[in-house]
C-alpha cells in the first residue's frame, strides 16, 4: 500500500482533533497548552505533507521550521501567562477562571 497524501492528512486531522479535545476538556491550563502544541504539530504535518506531494519546492519545510520555532516561543510566553494566572487566581484550573463573564 502506497502511503499517500491522504494518510498524512488523516493523521494530521486526528492530531488536530486531539489537540482541540485537549484544549476543550482539560481543566489544567498547562494541559490546554499541550493541546495547542498538538494543533501546531498537526499543522506542521500538513505543511510537510503538502510540500512532499505538492510542487512547492522547499517552502513547506521552511514554514514547518518556522512553526517549530514559533511553538517554542509560544510555549515560553504561554507558560509565563499561566504563571501569572496562578499568581492572580492561585489556581490554574481554567474552569474557575471565568471573569470574562462579568
Amino acid at each position: 500500500m502506497q502511503v499517500g497524501l491522504n494518510h498524512f492528512l488523516v493523521i494530521s486531522t486526528a492530531l488536530f482533533s486531539l489537540g482541540i479535545f485537549g484544549i476543550v476538556t482539560r481543566r489544567n491550563a498547562v494541559m490546554v497548552l499541550m493541546g495547542i502544541e498538538l494543533i501546531l504539530n498537526s499543522a506542521n504535518i500538513n505543511f510537510i505533507a503538502f510540500a512532499r506531494f505538492g510542487n512547492f519546492g522547499l517552502q513547506g519545510q521552511v514554514m514547518a521550521l518556522f512553526v517549530i520555532i514559533l511553538a517554542a516561543a509560544e510555549a515560553a510566553i504561554a507558560l509565563a501567562i499561566v504563571l501569572n494566572i496562578y499568581k492572580t487566581f492561585s489556581t490554574v484550573n481554567v474552569d474557575e477562571i471565568d471573569t470574562l463573564k462579568d
Binding site: I20, V24, V94
Partner: protein, 699 residues
C-alpha cells in the same frame, strides 16, 4: 375784540367750569369753603359769556368765527381717500345766545343752591357736579362738528346721571339716575348711527363740510331716502335728551334730584340740548324728517300736558310741562318755525328755571314737602316767591307782556301757517289745545300751592320766605320773563333784535325736491344751486311769509282766548270751587286715571321692555343652563369617557406591548445567558462547532 381773542374767550368759557369741577372734586373734602371758588368760577364764566355774546352780536353779527385743527390725520386711506378728524370751535349767533342762557342760569342755580343745599354732607361735590355739567353743556354749544357734540352729549348725560342720583342713598333717586341714563342711551344709539352714516358718506364730522357736500348733491348712499333717515336718526338723540315722546319717561323721574338741578338741567338747559341739536343740523333735514320731527313734537306737547293736569307732586307737574314745552319747540322746528322755536328755547329756559327755583323755594320752606294737596295759602308767607311764580306761570301760559307769549305765539303762528300751506292742520290744532291745557294746569298748580287756605297747618306755620341767595335768582329770572328784553312791542316779537338780527334761519342744503314747497328757493326746481350765500336765511317762498303774516293776528287772539279760558277754568275749579272737582273726575274716571297714571307709559315700558328683557334673560339663562352647560358638560363627559378609554388603552395595549418587549428580552436573555459562561473553553467549543457547521454549509 379780535377774532383770536374771541376764540380764546370761548375756550375760557369752556374750560373754566372744568377747572372748577376738578378743583372742587379733589379739594372738596379738605377745604370746606371750596364751593366759593366754584361760585367764583361760574361768575367769571358768565362774565366771559356776556362779553362774548355782546361782541359777537354787535360787531360780528353776520360772521361766524371758526377755529379748527386736525386732531387725527389718517392720511390717504385706500378706497376712502384723504381722511381726518377735525376738532374746532364755532361761534355763531345761536351759540352765543345759548351760552348766555346756559351760563346765566347755571350761575343763578349756583347762587340758589348755596342756601338750598346748605347742610348737605356732599355740599362741595354738588358744586363740582354743577361745574362739570356747565362744562359739558358749553362744549355742546361751541363745537363745530358732530364728533365733539356726541362726546359732550354723553358728558352731559353723565353729569345729569350724577346729579339726578345725587342723593344716592335714596333708592328712588339712584333708580331715577339709572333710568335717565339708560333711556337716553336708546336715543343716543340712533344719534350715533346717524353720525356714522354722515361720516362714512362724507369722511368728515364738521357741519359746514357736510352741508357743503350735501348741497353739492352728494347724498348718503346716493338716495334722498337715506338723507331723511339720517336726519331722523340724529333726531333720535334729541328725542332722548329732550325727553320727547316716546322716551320722555325719564324726565319726571329725574325730579328725584335736588330741585336747583331740576331747574338747571331738567328744565332749562340740558333738555334744550336736544332742540339745539336739531337747530344745528337743521339744514340737512328733509321734509320727511321735518314731518317726523313735527309729529314727535306734537305728541310730546300733547301727552305730557294731559298728564300734568292731574299730578299732585309740584315738581312732577313742572316736569311734564317741561316735556310739553320742549315738544312745542320740536314741533316748531318741524313745521319750519325755526326762529320761534329757538326763541322759545331761550324764553322757556328762563321762565321754567324760575318755576323750578320757585318750587324749590316752596319745597325748602315746606321742609321737603312736594305734594301740592298739602300746601295752600303760601301767598301770604312767601310773597316774593309767589310773585315770581305768578310771572312765570303767566309766561308759560302765554299771556301778553311776558316772554312766553311772544315765543309760544310764534310757534302757534308757524304751525298755523304750516297748516294753511300744506294742509296738515293737526299741528296748529294740537298746539292750541296744549296752550289751553298748559294755562289750566299751571294755574291749578299756582292756586293749590299759593291760594286758598293752608291744608297742612303745621307745615304752613313753619314756612318762611327764602333767604337772599334764593330770592335773588328768582327776581332775576322773573325780570327775564318780561317781554321788554326781547322786543319793544309786546305783541310782535319780530321787532326785536333777537329775531330780526340775531337768530337767522339757515340756508337749507337738501335737494330741492325733498323740501316743503314753501321752503324751496326761488331757483326753479331741477337746476343746481351754485353757491350758498353766507349766513343767508332759509329761502322761504313768498307765500310762506304771507301765510305767516296772515296767521299772526288769528293765532295771537286764539291763543289769548284759550290761555284765558284755561286760567278761568282753573280759577273756577280750584279758587272759587264752583264745580265740584271730585265729582267731575268721578264722572270721567277712565280719562282721569289715564292721566293720573301717566298714560301707563311706565307700566307699558315695564311690561314690554323690562318684562321683555327679563323674559329674554330668563330664556337666555335657560339656554345657558341647558344648552350651553349641556354642551360643556357633554364635552366634559365625552372627554372623560375618552380619557377612560385612552387610559385603558395605555394600560392594556401600550403597557402590554412594552411589558411584552421587556419580557421577551428577559426571556431571550435567560436563554443566551447560558452561553455566556466566561470560560474560554466553552467559547472555543462554540467556535469549533460553528466552524464545523459552516464547513458543512459552504463546503
Amino acid at each position: 375784540m379780535t377774532e383770536p381773542l374771541m376764540i380764546n374767550l370761548a375756550l375760557m368759557i369752556l374750560l373754566l367750569p372744568l377747572l372748577g369741577f376738578v378743583v372742587s372734586l379733589f379739594l372738596g373734602k379738605r377745604i370746606k369753603a371750596i364751593y366759593i371758588f366754584e361760585l367764583f368760577i361760574i361768575i367769571l364764566t358768565f362774565a366771559g359769556a356776556v362779553t362774548l355774546a355782546f361782541v359777537k352780536l354787535n360787531y360780528y353779527q353776520n360772521t361766524d368765527i371758526v377755529s379748527q385743527f386736525t386732531w387725527i390725520n389718517f392720511g390717504n386711506i385706500p378706497l376712502l381717500g384723504q381722511t381726518n378728524i377735525d376738532l374746532g370751535i364755532l361761534i355763531d349767533n345761536i351759540a352765543v345766545l345759548m351760552i348766555f342762557v346756559v351760563t346765566l342760569i347755571s350761575m343763578l342755580v349756583h347762587i340758589f343752591s348755596i342756601a338750598y343745599m346748605k347742610g348737605d354732607k356732599l355740599y362741595n361735590r354738588y358744586f363740582a357736579y354743577l361745574g362739570i355739567f356747565t362744562f359739558s353743556m358749553t362744549g355742546i354749544v361751541f363745537t363745530h362738528n358732530m364728533l365733539m357734540i356726541y362726546i359732550f352729549w354723553e358728558l352731559v348725560g353723565l353729569s345729569s346721571y350724577l346729579l339726578i342720583g345725587f342723593w344716592f342713598e335714596k333708592k328712588s333717586a339712584s333708580d331715577a339716575g339709572k333710568k335717565a341714563f339708560i333711556v337716553n342711551r336708546v336715543g343716543d344709539l340712533g344719534m350715533l348711527a346717524g353720525i356714522l352714516i354722515l361720516y362714512t358718506t362724507y369722511h368728515t364730522f364738521t357741519f359746514s363740510q357736510i352741508f357743503a357736500q350735501i348741497s353739492a348733491g352728494h347724498l348718503p348712499f346716493n338716495s334722498e331716502f337715506w338723507l331723511t333717515v339720517t336726519g331722523i336718526l340724529i333726531f333720535c338723540g334729541a328725542i332722548g335728551k329732550s325727553a320727547q315722546f316716546p322716551l320722555h319717561v325719564w324726565l319726571p323721574d329725574a325730579m328725584e334730584g335736588p330741585t336747583p338741578v331740576s331747574a338747571l338741567i331738567h328744565a332749562a338747559t340740558m333738555v334744550a340740548a336736544g332742540v339745539f341739536l336739531i337747530v344745528r343740523v337743521y339744514p340737512l333735514l328733509t321734509s320727511g324728517a321735518l314731518l317726523f320731527i313735527a309729529i314727535i313734537g306734537m305728541l310730546s306737547a300733547f301727552i305730557p300736558a294731559t298728564i300734568a293736569l292731574t299730578q299732585n307732586d309740584i315738581k312732577k307737574v313742572l316736569a311734564y310741562s317741561t316735556i310739553s314745552q320742549l315738544g312745542y319747540m320740536v314741533m316748531g322746528l318741524g313745521v319750519g318755525a325755526y326762529k320761534f322755536a329757538f326763541f322759545h328755547l331761550i324764553t322757556h329756559a328762563f321762565f321754567k328755571a324760575l318755576l323750578f327755583l320757585g318750587s324749590g323755594s316752596v319745597i325748602h320752606a315746606m321742609h321737603h314737602e312736594q305734594d301740592i294737596t298739602k300746601m295752600g295759602g303760601l301767598r301770604k308767607k312767601m310773597p316774593l316767591t309767589y310773585a315770581t311764580f305768578l310771572i312765570a306761570s303767566l309766561a308759560i301760559s302765554g299771556i301778553p307782556l311776558t316772554s312766553g307769549f311772544l315765543s309760544k305765539d310764534g310757534i302757534l303762528q308757524g304751525s298755523f301757517a304750516f297748516g294753511s300751506l300744506t294742509g296738515y292742520w293737526i299741528f296748529g290744532f294740537v298746539g292750541f289745545l296744549v296752550a289751553l291745557l298748559t294755562a289750566f294746569y299751571m294755574f291749578r298748580l299756582l292756586i293749590l300751592t299759593f291760594h286758598g287756605k293752608p291744608r297742612d297747618q303745621h307745615k304752613y306755620d313753619h314756612a318762611h320766605e327764602s333767604s337772599f341767595s334764593m330770592a335773588m335768582p328768582l327776581v332775576v329770572l322773573a325780570a327775564l320773563s318780561i317781554f321788554i328784553w326781547y322786543t319793544p312791542n309786546p305783541f310782535n316779537p319780530e321787532q326785536g333784535a333777537i329775531l330780526t338780527n340775531w337768530i337767522k334761519a339757515p340756508q337749507l342744503v337738501t335737494p330741492q325736491d325733498t323740501r316743503y314747497n314753501f321752503m324751496k328757493s326761488d331757483v326753479p326746481s331741477g337746476s343746481v344751486i351754485k353757491t350758498v350765500p353766507e349766513n343767508s336765511e332759509i329761502m322761504y317762498s313768498e307765500n310762506y311769509t304771507e301765510a305767516l303774516h296772515q296767521a299772526h293776528i288769528p293765532a295771537m287772539l286764539l291763543s289769548l282766548v284759550l290761555a284765558g279760558l284755561g286760567i278761568l277754568i282753573a280759577f273756577i275749579f280750584y279758587q272759587w270751587k264752583k264745580v265740584d272737582v271730585d265729582k267731575l273726575t268721578n264722572s270721567i274716571k277712565p280719562l282721569y286715571n289715564l292721566s293720573y297714571n301717566k298714560w301707563y307709559f311706565d307700566e307699558m315700558y315695564d311690561a314690554i321692555f323690562v318684562g321683555g328683557t327679563l323674559m329674554l334673560s330668563r330664556f337666555l339663562s335657560w339656554f345657558d343652563l341647558t344648552i350651553i352647560d349641556g354642551i360643556v358638560n357633554g364635552s366634559a363627559s365625552l372627554t372623560r369617557a375618552l380619557s377612560i378609554f385612552t387610559g385603558k388603552f395605555d394600560n392594556v395595549v401600550v403597557d402590554g406591548f412594552v411589558n411584552f418587549v421587556a419580557y421577551l428580552s428577559g426571556f431571550v436573555g435567560l436563554i443566551f445567558r447560558r452561553f455566556q459562561t466566561g470560560k474560554v473553553q466553552t467559547y472555543i467549543v462554540f467556535v469549533v462547532f460553528s466552524i464545523v457547521i459552516l464547513l458543512f454549509i459552504f463546503k
